[in-house]
C-alpha cells in the first residue's frame, strides 16, 4: 500500500466531485458567486428559451430587382430594425444569392417580431393628383408620442433638409388641398393643408395605442426594405415550450448520465470508478469549451452532447476490455494497462475519425439546428479521445501504483 498515491487518488476524486457538483447545482453557500453553476453561462438556443428562426427570400417585383446591392441594403435594414427592438445577439446571415436567415432568441412574441421584421414600411406623401411629393428617404427621424392636450397617439416626423425644402414647397402649392400620408400604399391620413409648413415637421395620427405607434416609428426610422421579402421557412418556439424542453432535457440528461455512471461502476469496479471520474471530467471539459467558444446550446445540441457521452464511455470500454485481456494472459497490472492502452487506442481512433467524417458532412449540409448537433458531437469526440488517453490512463496508473488493489479480479479480469 502506497499512501501517497492513494491520497493523490482521493484528492482527485474530491476535486472532480466538487467541480461536478458546483458546475451542476447552485449551492446555497455560494449564492453570491455568480459564475456558479457553469450551466448558467451557456447560451441557450432559440428552441430552449423561445424565439424564432426565419429564412427570408427576396422576390423580384416590377419596382425592385433583386441583386447583390439590394440584398446588402435589405440586410442592413433588417439589422437596424432588429437593433431598435433591443434583441440580444441576433443572427442575420446571407444565404445564397437571395436569402437572408434571421434568428432571434428570447423574445416574448416571436410571431409579431416576424411580421414587424418584413413589413415594407414605405412612407409616401402624395398630393391630390396622386403624385408622390416626399418619400421615406427624405425622413430624418420618426418618434412616437402622445399629444399632451388631447391624449392622442401620434408619430412625429422630422425631415432632412432636402425633405424640409420639398415639404415646404408642397404645402405651399397645396393650401386648402389634402396631402395623403401613405404607409405601404395604404392611406393612413388625408389632412388638408391649412398653411405652408416650413420647419420640416409633420405628424401622423390614427393609432390605437402607443405600442402600435412605436412599431411604426421603428419601421419608418429604419427605412424601407429595398426588395420584397417573403417567408420561406419560419420556426417559432414560444417561451413556454422552450422552458419545457430545457427542463425535460436536463432531467433526461441527468438520468442518462447517472445510469451510465452506475453501470460502469458495477460492471468494471476499480476501472469503472476511474472511468466515471474521467467521464465527469470529460463532461466538465466539454462544458467549459461550450462556454469558451460561446456555443449556442440547442435541443439537438444536447442530444449530440449526450450521444458523445456514449462515445466517451465507448473509448473507456474498449480500453478496459483490452486491459482485461492482457491481464488474462498473465501480465502484471501495470504492463497490462500500458499494452491495453496501446492496442485499444487504435480502434478508438479509427472509429472516432469515421464518426467525425459523418459529423463534418452533417455540418456542411445541415441547417442551423442540425449544425448544433454536429458541432457538439465533434467537440465531444475530440475531447473524449483526449481524456481517454490522458485522464483515464493517468488515474489507472495511479491506482495500480498505490498497490491498494492487487487482485486482478477488481480490474474485471
Amino acid at each position: 500500500m502506497r499512501w501517497s498515491k492513494l491520497l493523490t487518488m482521493a484528492a482527485i476524486i474530491l476535486v472532480i466531485a466538487a467541480l461536478g457538483i458546483t458546475a451542476a447545482v447552485p449551492l446555497p453557500i455560494f449564492k453570491d458567486v455568480t459564475w456558479l453553476p457553469w450551466g448558467k453561462d451557456i447560451i441557450l438556443g432559440l428552441d430552449l428559451q423561445g424565439g424564432v428562426h426565419v429564412v427570408l427570400e427576396a422576390k423580384d417585383t416590377p419596382n425592385a430587382e433583386v441583386n447583390d446591392e439590394s440584398m446588402k441594403r435589405a440586410q442592413a435594414v433588417l439589422e437596424r430594425r432588429i437593433n431598435e427592438t433591443g434583441v440580444a445577439e441576433p443572427v442575420i446571415q446571407r444565404q445564397g444569392d437571395r436569402r437572408i436567415i434571421v434568428e432571434l432568441a428570447g423574445i416574448d412574441d416571436p410571431e409579431k417580431a416576424v411580421i414587424d421584421l418584413i413589413q415594407p414600411a414605405y412612407l409616401e406623401f402624395k398630393n391630390e393628383l396622386g403624385q408622390t411629393i416626399i418619400t421615406g428617404a427624405d425622413l430624418k427621424d420618426a418618434l412616437e408620442a402622445r399629444d399632451p392636450n388631447t391624449g392622442q397617439v401620434e408619430v412625429d416626423l422630422t425631415f432632412t433638409s432636402e425633405g424640409t425644402r420639398k415639404f415646404a414647397q408642397a404645402t405651399m402649392a397645396n393650401v386648402d388641398k389634402p396631402i395623403g400620408i401613405y404607409l405601404d400604399e395604404q392611406l393612413l391620413q388625408n389632412p388638408v393643408v391649412s398653411e405652408p409648413i416650413t420647419n420640416g415637421q409633420a405628424r401622423i395620427t390614427g393609432y390605437e395605442n402607443l405600442e402600435e405607434a412605436h412599431t411604426i416609428a421603428i419601421l419608418l426610422r429604419s427605412g424601407a426594405l429595398p426588395v420584397q421579402l417573403d417567408v420561406m421557412e419560419k420556426r417559432t418556439v414560444g417561451p413556454q415550450l422552450g422552458k419545457d424542453s430545457l427542463d425535460r432535457s436536463i432531467n433526461a440528461g441527468i438520468v442518462g448520465i447517472v445510469a451510465i455512471l452506475v453501470f460502469m461502476l458495477v460492471y468494471y469496479r476499480i476501472p469503472g470508478l476511474i472511468a466515471d471520474l474521467a467521464l465527469i471530467f470529460y463532461a466538465l471539459v466539454v462544458l467549459a469549451i461550450f462556454i469558451g467558444i460561446h456555443a449556442t446550446m440547442t435541443l439537438p445540441g444536447i442530444a449530440g452532447f449526450l450521444l458523445s457521452l456514449g462515445i466517451a464511455v465507448d473509448a473507456n470500454v474498449i480500453i478496459f476490455e483490452r486491459i482485461k485481456e492482457e491481464l488474462r494472459t498473465g501480465k502484471s497490472i501495470r504492463s497490462a494497462i500500458d499494452s491495453g492502452f496501446k492496442r485499444g487506442f487504435v480502434a478508438v481512433f479509427d472509429a472516432n475519425v469515421t464518426t467525425l467524417i459523418g459529423a463534418a458532412v452533417l455540418y456542411f449540409f445541415g441547417t442551423s439546428l442540425i449544425r448544433g448537433f454536429a458541432v457538439t458531437l465533434s467537440i465531444g469526440i475530440l475531447v473524449s479521445m483526449f481524456t481517454a488517453i490522458t485522464m483515464t490512463r493517468w488515474m489507472l496508473h495511479l491506482a495500480a501504483a498505490s498497490n491498494s488493489v492487487k487482485d486482478p479480479r477488481y480490474y474485471g479480469a
Partner: protein, 288 residues
C-alpha cells in the same frame, strides 16, 4: 463458443425479413412526411380551457386552412394543428380566431415551411449520405482495405434501410431531425464495425497457417463482444432517458436513433463482418 460465421445465411434472412417489408411499405405507402418535406404550417398551442378536439378542428376548417392531415392532441391540453402553408397574417388570424372560439391560447410553436425547402432538404440529405459514405470508404481503404470499407458501408446501408422501413411501416412522421438521425446512425454503425474490423486486422497479422477466415472473424467477434454490448447498453441508457423524459419535439429523432443503434449493433457483427468474408472468399474463387 457459438459460431456466428457458420450461420451467416440466417442473419441475412433475418435482415431481409425486416428490410423487405419496409421496402414494400416505402414503395406502396411511402412516408408520413412532415411539413419539412411537404411545406405547410405546424402550429402547436396550449389551451387554458378543456376543449374537445372537434372544436379546434372546426375552427381550422371554417377558416379554410385545413391540410389533408388532422389535428392531434399532444399533451393534456396541447394541440398540434397541421395546416397548409399560412402567411404571417393568416397565422395571426388562426390564433386570434382560436382565442375567440375556445379561450386563451398559449402559442408553443409555429413552424412554417415553404414547399421549396422540402425539396432542398431531401436533395441535401441524399447528397450528405452519399458523400459521407464515399468519404468513409476512402478512409477505411486507407486504414484497412477497400473490401472492408465496402462491407462496412453495406452494413450502414442496412441500418438506414431498417430505420426507413420501420418508419414507413409504422407511418411515424419524418422531419428534418430524422435526416440528422439517419446520418448519426451512419456514424454510429460504422464506429461499431470499425472496432470489430480493427480486431480482425490485428488477428490477421498473427493468423496461423490454415486458419479459416470464417473462424478468424468469429474469434474477433467474440473478442469484441463484451465491448459491443456494453457500448450499446450505455448509449441506449441515454437514448431511452431522452425518449421517456425528453420533450415531444425530439421524440421521433430519438426513436430513430434507438432503432438505428440497435440495428447498427446487429449489422456490425452479423451483416458487415460476414459480407467481408463473402467478398474475400469470392476473390479466392475467381482467383483474383
Amino acid at each position: 463458443m457459438f459460431n456466428f460465421m457458420k450461420h451467416r445465411k440466417i442473419w441475412y434472412i433475418i435482415s431481409l425479413l425486416i428490410i423487405l417489408p419496409g421496402l414494400f411499405s416505402i414503395a406502396t405507402r411511402g412516408f408520413n412526411l412532415g411539413i419539412d418535406f411537404t411545406g405547410g404550417n405546424l402550429v402547436e398551442v396550449r389551451l387554458e380551457q378543456d376543449v374537445k378536439i372537434d372544436q379546434v378542428r372546426s375552427v381550422v376548417e371554417e377558416l379554410g386552412f385545413a391540410a389533408a392531415r388532422n389535428i392531434q392532441k399532444s399533451g393534456t391540453n396541447d394541440y398540434m394543428i397541421r395546416t397548409r402553408e399560412l402567411t404571417e397574417e393568416e397565422s395571426a388570424t388562426l390564433i386570434s380566431t382560436l382565442e375567440q372560439k375556445v379561450g386563451e391560447v398559449n402559442l408553443l410553436r409555429n413552424d412554417r415551411v415553404g414547399p421549396v425547402i422540402g425539396r432542398e432538404l431531401t436533395m441535401n440529405a441524399i447528397w450528405a449520405l452519399l458523400i459521407a459514405a464515399a468519404l468513409m470508404i476512402v478512409y477505411m481503404t486507407f486504414r484497412f482495405e477497400f473490401k472492408q470499407g465496402v462491407a462496412a458501408v453495406t452494413g450502414l446501408l442496412h441500418d438506414v434501410l431498417v430505420v426507413l422501413g420501420i418508419f414507413s411501416i409504422l407511418q411515424i412522421e419524418v422531419d428534418s431531425a430524422f435526416v440528422a438521425a439517419i446520418l448519426t446512425i451512419v456514424g454510429y454503425s460504422i464506429n461499431n464495425t470499425i472496432v470489430i474490423f480493427d480486431r480482425v486486422r490485428e488477428n490477421l497479422r498473427t493468423r496461423k497457417k490454415g486458419e479459416a477466415l470464417e473462424d478468424l472473424v468469429n474469434v474477433s467477434l467474440w473478442q469484441t463482444m463484451a465491448r459491443s454490448i456494453n457500448t450499446v447498453v450505455a448509449v441506449l441508457f441515454v437514448l431511452l432517458a431522452l425518449y421517456l423524459l425528453g420533450g415531444t419535439t425530439i421524440k421521433n429523432f430519438v426513436l430513430a436513433l434507438i432503432i438505428g443503434v440497435t440495428s447498427g449493433f446487429y449489422s456490425s457483427m452479423l451483416t458487415a463482418s460476414p459480407l467481408w468474408v463473402e467478398l474475400r472468399l469470392m476473390e479466392k474463387k475467381t482467383g483474383k
